[in-house]
Symmetry: C2
Amino acid sequence: MPSIAVTPHEENGNVSDLTAQGIKHALQKTAPSQLKSASLSDSTTQVHSANHQHDAPTPLAELDASLLQTTYTTSPRPVPALGSPEMASQKVCTDHMIQARWTSSTGWDAPTLQPYGPLSLMPTASCLHYATECFEGMKLYRGYDGKLRLFRPQLNCARMLMSTSRIALPGFPPEELLKLIVRLCATDGAKWLPKDRPGSFLYIRPTMIASDPALGVQRPTEALLFVILTCFAPMDALDGGMRLLASKDDMVRAWPGGFGYAKVGANYGPSLVAQGEARALGYHQILWLFGEECFVTEAGASNFFVVWRTREGVMQIVTACLTERIVLDGVTRRSVLELARERFAIGYEGLEAVEVVERKFSMAEVVEAVEEGRLIEAFAAGTAWFVAPVGHIHFRGKDFKVPMGENGQSGRYTAVVKEWLRGIMWGTNGQESHEWGHIVDEK
Amino acid sequence: MPSIAVTPHEENGNVSDLTAQGIKHALQKTAPSQLKSASLSDSTTQVHSANHQHDAPTPLAELDASLLQTTYTTSPRPVPALGSPEMASQKVCTDHMIQARWTSSTGWDAPTLQPYGPLSLMPTASCLHYATECFEGMKLYRGYDGKLRLFRPQLNCARMLMSTSRIALPGFPPEELLKLIVRLCATDGAKWLPKDRPGSFLYIRPTMIASDPALGVQRPTEALLFVILTCFAPMDALDGGMRLLASKDDMVRAWPGGFGYAKVGANYGPSLVAQGEARALGYHQILWLFGEECFVTEAGASNFFVVWRTREGVMQIVTACLTERIVLDGVTRRSVLELARERFAIGYEGLEAVEVVERKFSMAEVVEAVEEGRLIEAFAAGTAWFVAPVGHIHFRGKDFKVPMGENGQSGRYTAVVKEWLRGIMWGTNGQESHEWGHIVDEK
């Protein structure tokens, strides 16, 4: 392997600019006959496409959504009823899926839109042994205005590219992945998110796996990209808020120099023992701490926010910073931060102005804020759980109650942020035309 | 999920006694109608079987090799010639494989011995997204005395159980897994390791994956155990020894509280970018360092040993200890330590007596030993690479040459250890009846 993809950590700790500009910049740089690069930041951080890891004499084929080959199902399946066990099972996918195969010698095959069904993998497939896999989590929203929307999907596609580079999978132009996702949503959206179910969503799971049928521990030479749409039940608010169990120091999610910032499978399986233990004890998620100082990083697979008043009297929204690369650069996280910076800067509908802070903060600070009555709210934010008020944290043998607002359901800042995002996602609250809402034209 | 498997890290850092006694102890404790436990240590550390994570009203079926259902292939494939590209590809498996399915509601189905072929997995399968997978690496040896042997297979089966517990997969009696492995080896061994190829081997890969077709991030409720046998070319000695590139602090393999000690997929995929970079620069493997002190942990996916003379003049074999649980408890590692303790204690065939040490040691110590002429040898040890002399280490911009003995091929301690192990594995050097060689009766 004469040339190797350069991963972002080798150049710059900042991968936080997953913006449309970043993607555009990446695409401008993408030419099929040369080593690709896709900017994930303000032009200083580059992810070289692993699609060109060999000095091949002929250019490798790039992922190209315009080559899509379609085969529609002849056995369409029924859409689960709202409230049905099927809807809650997270097992029912829509009629179709996207697939695209890659090899290190030929690049990307023409992608396909085909009936949803099982994958055939050799028992030697790399992804079954070495966790050579990464994914994204997105949603397709059926708006209250009847429209189908994605929420900032460019960010997910850019992050997917970043994740592939961390786990030695091939690169691709993120915009092509977005086109494939949009095409699948357009194909199955009308049936699976009917217009009489406004406020509902399908969960979108773009996934890439290494499919090499060879046991050598080495960079994958074959890969499969697929995108599926899964039915999820609408998420009920957790009665009394999310209950979090702080991790113990013998169970650490991520580490500097590791891969906590990437959406790779290897971050999830190893967390399930702790998560199962937490659920057995009546908690919803683990609050992942890091280091002897017990820095607060993530809540389950979501980012974690506190709203507190400093001892100096300043109201702040605080979440862990990305600099150590142990925290996922969540799309919801980023959106909360951006909206809060924009709209809370000078107060909002009777709510006090808030300073928005990304920094390392420790459980000791959270505990002090609770004990001194300065902790106003806390919430988890991510695509799966959306914005979930936190009501309870257990840390080192002690229970800490987090205020849940006057109604006991949600603090007000949390509720306002959630409503802002809901408006953009589902086209309501006057947010029908927000630039973050990516409207999907239905077939 | 009312009850949760207890993982060993919660009770005791020591999982180092993967002995036959430990297994026997585990089996004595295994009864199908109650929560299982399998001792992986000197009776203080217990891994509770995740096979009984629910308080089910009826006992779950245990993995039981005596229920094996066999279907022999009607399309036997040719055995690759020695030296052929097929043999080197690590893609050719033997005619048959073992499979066993598990669900959280019924336990283990009857295992099958069936024709080798692809697995069908739903795109939602947990293992494709969350790295809910673990494996073992073993070899089946065709002895110079004509016999087929496994090498200490009980240790691999016990470690497999430990790994499943770390990645939230179901438990099983390790002895049943061993019986299934032996049965597969007995079935395919005669054809695929013909008696006219003494000194060759098949690579055995027991694997467990979570097959739940549901995207929820949670403990698996369905799993598949499979065992395959793969053709590997005989390993040539690396000309000039193994060349190692020390990892940089932005790429960390494992950390305390993580899972570096378990053979889970999540340890491998994230290492491939660094490994690919090392290969592109002309190195064979990464020498994985940990922490600001640059403690030496593993070499590639092998354990790492140095032979040095201390400043006080004591000859030592040193390898990283297991206490922080960031290093794999390798079967070859353990065997090297045990043989060296037994046979080098008072010198051996003109070689000076050696003290055997398991402790944290740093690159600074290695560098000092090189610079002061005290580094005698270094080698990597693991199932895949066996015992491989190290000739070269690159660390922070500097190249360090490691002595490779008078013949330039291997230091003498390394060569002697390797010969001892070869004798036991392939039934030669007067080691035909060593207790570590597990003879497989052929069909």
